[in-house]
């Protein structure tokens, strides 16, 4: 309950700051350049159906991209982090490819996959892949060796070491990288959706309305923020369930 209250207070403060910024910007320019939060929110209600359609399109693309990058990057990152031979060969590749702005590849992806969802999902998955790969690799390198020794001395196979130690030990850091990926993923998804001339998704919705109906465009931005918030909450819930051991404290015997 306290958590919900703090969320509400934070959001109210944000809306207030937005309203003040809107009053200031519009006052200086003597025109409605930055719509206030209440006008934008009323557009959310008025355009609920259109927003819902675009929200759903963006949401499934983002979730799919996160899942694809998670499924591919996590095992690869853990293996590179734990197997020195793989690390020697793969690390230079990561160092060369990680800094490339994936957005530079967007036109190439449009040529390969067309302007549909495949390009947008690939674009976001590509960006998040490196984020999760680098985190998983780093986390796997920093595992307490006593945990590894402990299961090896109990007769664990290499696969069992990964399952019983490497994966659970690195899961909190992997989930943190997923959290970072949500913000990054929304930004990349916006770029990908606005680059396609036509199509669904909050990016193209915002782009369509930004010049002539800014209140609607800001309604789209609110929807993107809600998408991010919902995904953050989902990752928090997953972490609470999957990493329960992180949230316990020493307590006396009954």
């Amino acid at each position: 309950m306290k958590r919900v209250l703090t969320y509400v207070i934070s959001i109210m403060a944000l809306l207030l700051a937005w309203e003040l910024a809107s009053l200031a910007v519009n006052g200086i320019n003597h025109a409605i350049i930055l719509p206030g939060p209440f006008n934008a929110l009323s557009q959310v209600v008025k355009n609920a159906a259109e927003l819902q359609r675009n929200f759903a399109a963006s949401a499934w693309r983002l979730i799919l991209a996160i899942l694809i990058s998670l499924i591919v990057a996590t095992p690869l990152g853990l293996l590179i982090g734990r197997e020195p031979t793989l690390d020697r060969y793969f690390s230079p590749i990561i160092y060369i490819t990680y800094p490339i702005p994936q957005v530079a590849l967007i036109l190439f992806l449009f040529v390969v996959f067309g302007t549909g969802s495949a390009t947008k999902v690939t674009m976001v998955a590509l960006a998040l892949f490196f984020q999760i790969l680098v985190s998983a690799r780093g986390a796997a390198k920093n595992i307490d060796e006593e945990h590894i020794t402990s299961v090896l001395s109990a007769g664990a196979s290499r696969w069992q070491v990964y399952w019983h130690v490497v994966l659970p030990a690195t899961l909190p850091e992997i989930l943190t990288s997923v959290r970072v990926s949500i913000g990054l993923g929304i930004a990349f998804l916006y770029i990908a959706e606005t680059r396609a001339a036509l199509g669904t998704g909050l990016g193209s919705y915002i782009n369509k309305h930004m010049l002539f109906n800014r209140e609607r465009a800001f309604a789209g931005i609110i929807a993107m923020a809600i998408l991010g918030l919902l995904l953050y909450i989902a990752v928090d819930v997953i972490e609470r369930l999957a990493c329960r051991w992180k949230y316990v404290k020493r307590r006396p015997l009954k």
């Binding site: 020794t149 001395s153 007769g155």
Partner: protein
């Protein structure tokens, strides 16, 4: 019987080779206890890991009941410095880890050991919810869950307060009498070596070589700490370490 024959352990290769253990030989009869004592970082843990099958000596041979130790064995249990508990597994899962890894369903044995160690009411808890003393007991429960014939311990009581350490030492002694396993304890604590080792091998600084062997046949009772012989053994150990 455990037979350690001219064992040398190296780390690294070529010019970067570091010698951890050099030409160490000893024997330990079934059901006996041995303490390995030496300066911190001298290489005694490497020797213990070789005994558990986790690493292979550069030269020499370790055999258990005539069979060469090349891999971790089910009848050899290892207790690590911080009990080696996995923070993401509950007490029950930690205590049963050896049995779960080897494909066996947790047996009555583990439940009995947990109850015997007073852990039956914390089985669903995670290690972070336990005191340091209880964590060590969970480590002991895990080691005993497979009914080992050899118990290897690497500084199992380091970083515990004096009273808790003595309590767990008493527990080790009682379990050794009850279960009849052979016990090899690595420690840098003179008092612990004198309380738990029937024979105590003193090592030099790295690379670990045997510098003295102190026999301690009168150990084995809980009130041995009050015995003047115990004090005498401690003095001998202190002299051997200083030499």
């Amino acid at each position: 019987m455990i037979d350690v024959d001219a064992v040398t352990i190296d780390y690294g290769q070529g010019e970067q080779t570091v010698r951890a253990v050099e030409d160490v030989s000893f024997r330990l009869d079934k059901g006996k206890s041995l303490a390995l004592i030496g300066p911190s970082g001298c290489g005694k843990t490497s020797l213990l890991f070789a005994l558990s099958g986790l690493l292979q000596p550069r030269s020499g041979k370790i055999t258990l009941d005539g069979e060469e130790v090349t891999n971790p064995r089910r009848d050899v249990a290892l207790i690590l410095q911080n009990a080696g508990l996995l923070p993401w597994k509950t007490v029950w899962q930690n205590a049963n880890l050896s049995l779960l890894l080897n494909g066996d369903f947790p047996q009555q044995n583990a439940a009995e050991v947990l109850a015997h160690l007073g852990l039956d009411n914390v089985m669903k808890r995670f290690p972070a919810e336990l005191s340091e003393g209880m964590k060590r007991r969970v480590g002991i429960a895990r080691a005993l869950s497979t009914s080992p014939s050899v118990l290897l311990m690497d500084e199992p009581l380091a970083s515990l307060d004096t009273l808790t350490r003595e309590k767990i030492q008493d527990l080790f002694l009682n379990l050794w009498h009850e279960h009849g396993f052979s016990m090899i304890l690595v420690t840098h604590n003179i008092e612990e070596a004198a309380f738990l080792g029937q024979r105590i091998i003193v090592f030099t600084d790295r690379p670990a070589r045997i510098s003295a062997i102190v026999e301690n046949p009168q150990m084995g009772s809980l009130d041995y700490r009050e015995d003047p012989v115990f004090q005498g053994v401690m003095s001998q150990l202190r002299e051997a370490l200083e030499a």
